[in-house]
């Protein structure tokens, strides 16, 4: 990047000009692209936010954990766009945790209830004349 004050070239990401010592980030648009959003280019790609998985858990497993997963997924996007890489990774881990726990609990509870209902249906049929 070039200094806006003296025009000399500086390494990208530098905050002060090496020639004249003035701030390189006085332009608000430059601050936004270099300081916050530009970070995406150097920091790699956004962590997986488990948004689709959270939505599916919300609908399939009937648990508020899916909704918690969506909140963390949205936090990943928010923090990543604000340049908070560590926060985005933390939220991504939380999103993964809640989605997996929600899926696990939902699966176990549903199988349990499914089994109980099969037993109940068989029991009802047996009571109604035992021709099951």
């Amino acid at each position: 990047m070039f200094c806006r004050h003296c025009g000399s070239e500086n390494p990208s990401g530098a905050t002060l000009c090496m020639q004249c010592g003035k701030s390189l980030a006085t332009n608000p648009y430059q601050t936004a692209t270099r300081g916050n959003f530009g970070g995406n280019a150097t920091m790699g790609s956004k962590p997986k936010n488990y948004l689709v998985e959270s939505i599916l858990v919300t609908f399939c497993c009937c648990l508020p954990l899916g909704i918690a997963g969506i909140v963390f997924a949205a936090q990943v996007d928010s923090k990543w766009n604000a340049g908070d890489q560590a926060g985005a990774i933390e939220s991504a881990n939380n999103a993964k945790k809640f989605t997996l726990i929600g899926f696990g609990i939902g699966l176990i509870l549903n199988l349990l209830i499914f089994g109980l209902q099969i037993v109940a249906v068989i029991g009802a049929a047996a009571n109604q004349g035992g021709n099951f």
């Binding site: 939505i55 009937c62 508020p64 909704i67 969506i70 949205a74 996007d77 509870l109 209830i113 209902q117």
Partner: protein, 158 residues
């Protein structure tokens, strides 16, 4: 060098075959035993525990109605699952595509989806779980294969 076609991937073929078989078994089961008149389908744990409809309540009946080609009844059972979820998956997919292309994406989409789901969750139970317009209709005893709508029946099996 072009990327390998999907069938070159050793896992893609068995996984797609498995999904096709599972989907066929599911559709056959739903067509043969309609969820609204069959007792043994898994019921919503959240509804059974709290008496409130969750965003997914009526989902099995909705897919069951879809399996017999009754789209109005499917939408009546769970409009968000039948209309909203495909739209959500499409929007999230498009956003991922933009991200892969290196474009900036907004966190607005995820927060909007969160808000929509919470409002839907509330709306399904207002003024009450049985009287909400967005709640799944009461289960009916008769085979509803020819009926466009199954509501209006006050008797609830659940």
């Amino acid at each position: 060098m072009p990327p390998d076609p999907p069938w070159k991937n050793s896992r893609a073929l068995p996984i797609s075959l498995l999904l096709i078989v599972l989907a066929s078994v599911l559709i056959w089961t739903l067509r043969t035993y309609q969820p609204s008149t069959t007792a043994w389908y898994p019921k919503c744990v959240f509804y059974q525990a709290t008496g409130f409809h969750c965003p997914g309540c009526g989902g099995t009946r909705a897919i069951g109605a879809l399996a017999v080609g009754n789209l109005p009844l499917a939408i009546r059972n769970n409009p968000m699952l039948i209309l909203g979820v495909p739209a959500m998956l499409l929007l999230v997919g498009l956003q991922r595509r933009r991200e892969k292309a290196g474009r900036l994406t907004s966190p607005r989409l995820a927060w909007t989806l969160f808000l929509i789901l919470v409002l839907y969750f509330i709306a399904r139970n207002v003024p009450s779980p049985t009287r909400s317009w967005l709640a799944p209709p009461a289960a009916v005893k008769a085979d509803y294969r020819d009926a466009p709508f199954a509501d209006g029946d006050a008797s609830r099996l659940d």
